[in-house]
């Protein structure tokens, strides 16, 4: 397991997904909080390259031994890359949620959707509210 971190260069969705923006492309993953709540991830059911994902909707599933969790897209776009390494070693989501545990990269269809996401301090405040 990794330590609890929320990098300052990412944007965050309330369903505990993160976005790393690079021009009109963005990489998605799940936050430390999400992987901790799920427990050891043992299965990743990803979308296919070329699929369209929609902000606020599920684009795949992560499963622990005990539970299934939908992965919610923080922004809309077309899938241009899927992290096959997580398919083979799903525990990467636990050990390195913001690095090797990334899930997909999309070409954003509406970059303005990113404005609705939280920055790190806002997400931390949101998490504090959840546990209060």
């Amino acid at each position: 397991m990794s330590d609890e971190t929320y990098p300052a260069d990412l944007r965050y969705h309330p369903e505990h997904d993160w976005v790393r923006v690079d021009g009109d492309e963005a990489t998605f993953g799940v936050t430390w909080y999400a992987q901790d709540a799920l427990g050891e991830v043992v299965y990743y059911d990803p979308p296919a390259v070329g699929d369209t994902v929609t902000a606020g909707s599920s684009y795949g599933e992560l499963e622990s031994v005990k539970a299934v969790s939908d992965i919610i897209a923080p922004a809309s776009g077309e899938v241009i890359a899927v992290n096959g390494a997580v398919g083979d070693a799903p525990e990467l989501v636990n050990s390195d949620p913001y690095g090797d545990g990334w899930l997909i990269t999309v070409r954003l269809s509406d970059p303005s959707e990113l404005d609705a996401l939280m920055d790190e301090p806002a997400y931390r405040a949101y998490l504090a509210g959840l546990s209060a």
Binding site: M1, G39, E40, V42, Y43, D45, E61, E63, S64, V65, K66, V68
Partner: protein, 367 residues
């Protein structure tokens, strides 16, 4: 939040960084470092579980044996003091109120029941008990640990007196563990050799701490691994595989029902089902492609639903999706090719032998 109960080991779990969940009204550890590591520790070395949430009902008095013989499905006359037996508490229709272990002790019987069913068992047994039977619900006062895995002897040796290692599977004895008077029994729910240890709840932390202080200490294990371990063995779980809606026969528990002599409630239905067959039967299934079956997933064959998953997980031992499921008789044989509908995606699967792994709680230890 409702009023959740805590076992006397709660502080020990928190100190060990357990993830705590609500289970049957109790705040219980679901996992410590992770379900897979804990599961594999029990299969390869040794693990320690807090199962103090389980219920203990003592049955005493003249005629206690006859009362239990008339109330439970198994033949309790086959066990004497120091022996235990798996049995079921049926309702009047032959449905299952609970599955339990009955321990015969010197002057009484001890019934160890599921935490979620303590009240139902108590109510049922009270309603059936004739005059002269004395029953005590000891559940709140009893702490219970399960030390499970091939290295259980190494973990228990330094702290037990006498060393209860001559015990055969399903035998029990009184012993002192860490100086605490305990009932130690060669029982468990994991499929590995090991013991379950019962003592006064207030002294359970001393037993736990002593076992955890040894050089060959077990891994602390949570309820998640207890569930995956029992699933690989094909052991039924009340609420998943067992309920009031079906008799024990379709669950493959005919061996725990004394149909020849039984005078217990529901025996006629069980005799009829044993002779004529049941509409479906409990089997083990493994996926032959990636995916994880879950309770409620339909089992399919030839485009039609032929059953339903009652428990599903990723088998930590096998590394594949694994399930227990009720399927129609024509598919209830080892090797039957089926599929499981996992949230709309059909996954190829096969009926497998039970247990799914090469484990047995009867294995003797090596000294």
């Amino acid at each position: 939040m409702t009023d959740l109960k805590r076992t006397s080991l709660y502080d020990a779990h928190v100190a060990a960084k357990a993830k705590i969940v609500d289970f049957a009204g109790w705040e219980m550890p679901v996992e410590y470092v992770g379900v897979r590591a804990e599961h594999l520790a029990v299969r390869s070395t040794c693990g320690l579980f807090d199962v103090s949430h389980m219920g203990q009902i003592e049955v005493m008095g003249k005629g206690a044996r006859e009362f239990l013989q008339a109330s439970l499905t198994n033949d309790i006359t086959r066990i004497g003091p120091g022996q235990a037996q798996y049995t079921l508490l049926p309702d009047d229709n032959g449905g299952v109120i609970d599955d339990l272990l009955a321990y015969a002790l010197l002057d009484r019987f001890l019934l160890v029941v599921n935490a979620s069913n303590i009240d139902a068992c108590w109510a049922r047994l009270t309603s059936l008990a004739p005059d002269g039977i004395d029953m005590v619900n000891r559940s709140p006062d009893v702490g219970m640990l399960a030390l499970q895995g091939p290295d259980w002897v190494k973990a228990l040796t330094p702290v037990s007196s006498p060393e209860p290692f001559a015990l055969a599977y399903m035998e029990s004895t009184e012993a002192h563990v860490a100086g605490v008077p305990c009932l130690v029994a060669r029982t468990g729910y994991t499929g590995e050799p090991g013991v379950e240890i019962m003592c006064d709840a207030s002294q359970a932390p001393a037993v736990w701490d002593a076992l955890m202080a040894g050089a060959d200490r077990p891994d602390p294990c949570g309820l998640a691994s207890r569930d995956t371990l029992r699933l690989e063995m094909g052991y039924p779980l009340y609420g998943n595989e067992l309920s009031r809606d079906r008799s024990p026969i379709s669950a493959g528990l005919k061996w725990a029902c004394d149909l020849a002599h039984g005078g217990f409630p529901g025996v006629e239905r069980m005799q009829r089902e044993a002779e004529e067959g049941t509409p479906d039967r409990l089997v083990g299934i493994v996926l032959t492609e990636k995916g994880i079956p879950r309770g409620g997933c339909p089992v399919m064959a030839g485009g039609e639903q032929v059953g339903v998953v009652t428990s599903g997980t990723l088998s930590p031992s096998l590394g594949v999706g694994a399930a227990l499921a009720y399927v129609s008789p024509e598919h209830a044989h080892v090797g039957a090719q089926v599929s499981i509908d996992v949230r709309g995606k059909e996954k190829a699967a096969e009926v497998t032998r039970l247990p799914m792994v090469d484990s047995s709680p009867r294995k003797e230890h090596h000294q």
